[in-house]
């Protein structure tokens, strides 16, 4: 017996519930087969699409039984037509209804006191208030939470405490209270502190106040170091905004390589009900956003309108982390775009058009590009950088902002460096470029907000420590949600003094 084909996807415990949910909707269920056309140059004229069939109104199962005044009549009663029910019949009905109510109360009480884990889980899944997502990998519904669990929050707090130990080591109030770790810093942190002191001295404290551009961190070496946004000719470096194609990120995180989500012409995806294969993993988006925030860029993630209504009335979620996704939406990182006729109903055309309009760094996938015109690498939509994931339990991502390609017939590779990808050149509208810049106080605020979502990994920790310590040392007095000196003191009391 040799290795066979991949095992069948486990049937979710509540699969019937999903399919019933789908079939009960009034909206047509639309296939999004990725068996796309061979040619797609959306500049060519396409044949006029047929008018979309209007969803039929569901006949309300009880509607035909309603009387003129809207009250329902019991068409199955024993009364002869036109005759009123007798008092005895009413009493009988009352008894039956009492039995039903008692049964439902007992049933609910039994659910509340249920000890069997499987039944408890199934009862929980059936409740509309239970937030859940279909997880084929786990073989059923995965219960989601609307806030971090204690264990998750503890891991986040520990990671943030590690950052803030360094950030506030030189803070006068912290020093005066004896809560500083200045005498206990690791060698690498001591070195970073020296670099920051030098950096502030070189560029003056006022360069790190409100109204100044973001500071970049370079990852060319370890540890990553702060970079001043000036060229050798003393010109300010204008960074491009980053446009992240959320669909391409979803595609890169999928195990199934046989199809690509939203690759095909797609209409009215906002009407689609729920498709487990389109479940959106949120952490990869957070990782990409954080990566570029640290580098000093404005970032936006674009998703099809299908995801705008990301939790249904019965608690089914289209994203695997509601806490993080709601935060990203609230911080205006996420934009939901319709897929319209102007773009030939193709998602890639929508996002690539947006990238070209803003001259953005375009994080997407060239596999979605079906245009016949050769790539010249001259515009944003052609300079695609693609994340690559090791989709283990702890997902690992590589996203290098460089491009290396070989022209047809040539043996040598041509490189497009990260500076060319990430920075605006001299040409172009200065006001537009200015409008796309991230300012320092906003950079700090956003980074601090994202630090509250997941435990920050070491490589990013080293970069974030420097950025936050820089503004604290420069006395910038920025908003640092969750990472302020007050937050540090609370964490200090908790982890150092053992106070709750």
């Amino acid at each position: 017996m040799g290795p066979g084909s991949p095992p069948d996807r486990p049937v979710p415990a509540e699969a019937d519930e999903v399919s019933d949910y789908q079939s009960s909707s009034s909206e047509p269920y639309i296939s999004f087969s990725s068996d796309g056309p061979a040619d797609d140059d959306y500049d060519e004229e396409e044949p006029e699409p047929q008018p979309w069939l209007q969803p039929e109104e569901i006949e309300h199962p009880r509607r035909e039984n309603r009387d003129d005044d809207g009250s329902e009549s019991d068409s199955s009663s024993d009364c002869t037509e036109g005759a009123e029910a007798t008092p005895e019949q009413w009493k009988e009905l009352e008894k039956e209804l009492d039995k039903v109510v008692a049964f439902m109360k007992d049933s609910e009480a039994a659910k509340a006191t249920e000890t069997d884990p499987v039944k408890r889980y199934k009862n929980l899944c059936q409740l509309s208030m239970t937030l859940k997502i279909m997880s084929p990998r786990d073989g059923g519904w995965k219960i989601l939470h609307d806030k971090r669990t204690e264990a998750e929050q503890l891991a986040i707090d520990r990671a943030n405490f590690d950052i803030l130990k360094f950030v506030y080591a030189r803070h006068p109030i912290v020093l005066s209270r004896g809560e500083s770790f200045i005498g206990r810093l690791e060698n690498i942190d001591r070195k970073l502190a020296e670099l920051i002191t030098q950096f502030v001295a070189n560029h003056d404290k006022h360069s790190f106040r409100a109204g100044n551009f973001s500071v970049a961190v370079g990852f060319d070496e370890f540890p990553p170091v702060l970079k001043w946004r000036t060229t050798a000719e003393n010109k300010t470096i204008m960074l491009r905004p980053v446009l992240v194609d959320g669909v391409a990120v979803l595609n890169a995180t999928m195990d199934d390589d046989t199809w690509k989500p939203f690759a095909d012409r797609t209409r009215y995806c906002e009407n689609w009900i729920y498709e487990p294969d389109l479940n959106l993993p949120v952490k990869p988006l957070v990782d990409i956003i954080l990566l570029f925030l640290i580098r000093g860029h404005k970032v936006k993630v674009y998703l099809p309108k299908y995801y705008e209504d990301f939790v249904s009335d019965c608690g089914v979620s289209k994203v695997d982390d509601l806490v993080a996704f709601r935060t990203l939406v609230a911080l205006d990182f996420i934009k939901f775009q319709p897929i319209t006729e102007a773009y030939n109903y193709k998602w890639f055309n929508v996002v690539s058009g947006l990238a070209d309009r803003s001259g953005a760094v375009f994080v997407s996938s060239a596999e979605y590009r079906t245009s016949k015109t050769p790539i010249e690498y001259s515009k944003s939509s052609e300079r695609i950088i693609t994340p690559c994931f090791l989709n283990a339990d702890d997902r690992l991502m590589v996203l290098d902002p460089t491009i290396r390609y070989r022209k047809t017939g040539e043996s040598n590779y041509t490189n497009i460096s990260s500076d060319e990808i990430l920075q605006f050149t001299d040409q172009g509208d200065d006001r537009m470029k200015l409008g796309e810049q991230l300012f320092l106080e906003h950079q700090i605020e956003l980074i601090c907000s994202l630090c509250k979502l997941y435990p920050v990994k070491l490589l990013n920790k080293v970069a974030i420590k420097q950025l936050l310590e820089l503004v604290v040392f420069a006395e910038a007095d920025f908003e640092m949600p969750g990472m302020s000196v007050t937050d540090y003191e609370q964490l200090y009391n908790r982890f150092e003094r053992g106070e709750l």
């Binding site: 040799g2 084909s5 991949p6 415990a13 047509p28 269920y29 639309i30 296939s31 999004f32 087969s33 990725s34 068996d35 796309g36 056309p37 061979a38 797609d40 044949p47 699409p49 069939l53 069997d116 884990p117 499987v118 408890r120 889980y121 786990d138 073989g139 059923g140 519904w141 995965k142 060319d220 070496e221 370890f222 540890p223 390589d257 199809w259 690509k260 012409r265 996938s365 596999e367 590009r369 079906t370 050769p374 790539i375 693609t386 690559c388 090791l390 989709n391 283990a392 339990d393 690992l396 590589v398 290098d400 290396r404 390609y405 070989r406 022209k407 040539e410 590779y413 070491l458 490589l459």
Partner: protein
């Protein structure tokens, strides 16, 4: 099937995301899994006779340095499949000297996994296609089990491997010296220097056998030798190899290595990974030579080039939809994009 339920079992059951099986069934499944691992091991031992050769120039890789942490191994899949292959490709128009052989790749993965390293492979997409290698289903199984990263055609697989290694202070195993990458930038120069370990392949007398050691390493057509290219490709001693494969507290990136180790939990996944590799090696030993013969009968496979400027639409099956919904489904007619 009955089994005792330990406190560990209960804890792990409580931590399950979806409790749609009972505790008893959960424990039963785990027992089945353990028995399957044992069965795969026995199958591997039976299918692969013991030979006299060792798979690697370095046999033991266990570090005795206090607090040292094993670095993650990133295997340059294409390089290993080509250079470790014992099947010359003499077909007309072939650009490669050998048919990519998955068995050296599997044996190299197994070599590190059995010694408690986290391992994954990086390959470009063309190697996941039919007839690109002699054991496609093994590549598929590695991908399913998150042991293999498939790099899109727009990226270079060796560049991605180096970047993964750089991020987690891992080590790329390859014969390729990456001179072009090293000369590209100071950053890549540093990565190639710090995050790469060179190997070369030597012929063996007892091909496709099991090494006579406790780890039962699989010896395919060739064996691995760790080399130091800076010293005329001389063989590295076991001590030197350990110095490259373990991070010690003095290293500047020690904490990154330690963090990765904690997050990846290779010890937890070891038995399942070993069962998979034993299964694949046992099957491959019997079937791969036959597949090679079939590949040699076919014309040379021309995979997609990285520099392709007109990406070809992939051939993908049409997804099945409910018959009841047909009138609402867009049905493609012919080759054109017609509703």
């Amino acid at each position: 099937m009955t089994c005792g339920i330990s406190e560990t079992d209960k804890k792990e059951y409580d931590a399950l995301e979806c409790k749609n099986i009972t505790l008893e069934k959960f424990c039963s499944n785990r027992l089945t899994e353990r028995l399957k691992c044992e069965r795969m091991r026995n199958q591997y031992l039976q299918a692969c006779p013991e030979g006299k050769d060792q798979f690697s120039s370095v046999i033991k890789l266990y570090s005795v340095i206090p607090n040292s942490v094993a670095r993650t191994i990133v295997i340059d899949g294409a390089n290993v499949m080509h250079c470790g292959s014992g099947y010359p490709d003499r077909r007309e128009n072939s650009k490669s000297s050998h048919i990519p052989d998955v068995m050296p790749l599997l044996s190299l993965i197994r070599f590190f996994v059995v010694r408690d390293f986290e391992v994954f492979v990086v390959i470009s997409r063309k190697y996941a296609k039919q007839d690109a290698t002699n054991f496609k289903s093994a590549i598929d199984r590695l991908i399913e089990n998150h042991l293999c990263v498939v790099v899109p055609s727009s990226n270079l697989d060796d560049s991605v491997a180096l970047q993964f290694a750089s991020q987690i202070n891992g080590v790329v195993i390859t014969t390729d010296q990456y001179r072009d990458h090293a000369s590209d930038s100071l950053r890549f120069n540093t990565i190639v220097r710090e995050n790469r370990l060179g190997i070369k392949w030597e012929n063996v007398k007892c091909k496709n056998t099991r090494a006579p050691n406790i780890e039962n390493d699989y010896v395919p057509s060739k064996r691995v030798v760790f080399v130091n290219e800076r010293e005329s490709s001389s063989r590295m001693s076991e001590n030197d190899v350990k110095m490259r494969l373990y991070a010690v507290p003095d290293h500047i990136q020690y904490e990154i290595t330690k963090e990765r180790r904690v997050l990846s939990e290779p010890e937890k996944k070891k038995s399942k990974t070993m069962a998979l590799l034993n299964d694949l090696l046992a099957y491959g030993r019997q079937n791969c030579p036959g597949v090679i013969e079939e590949i040699l009968k076919k014309p040379v496979h021309v995979p997609n080039d990285h520099s392709t400027q007109q990406p070809q639409p992939p051939e993908q099956p049409i997804r099945r939809v409910d018959i009841a919904d047909e009138e609402h489904i867009a049905v493609y007619v012919g080759d054109g994009d017609e509703w």
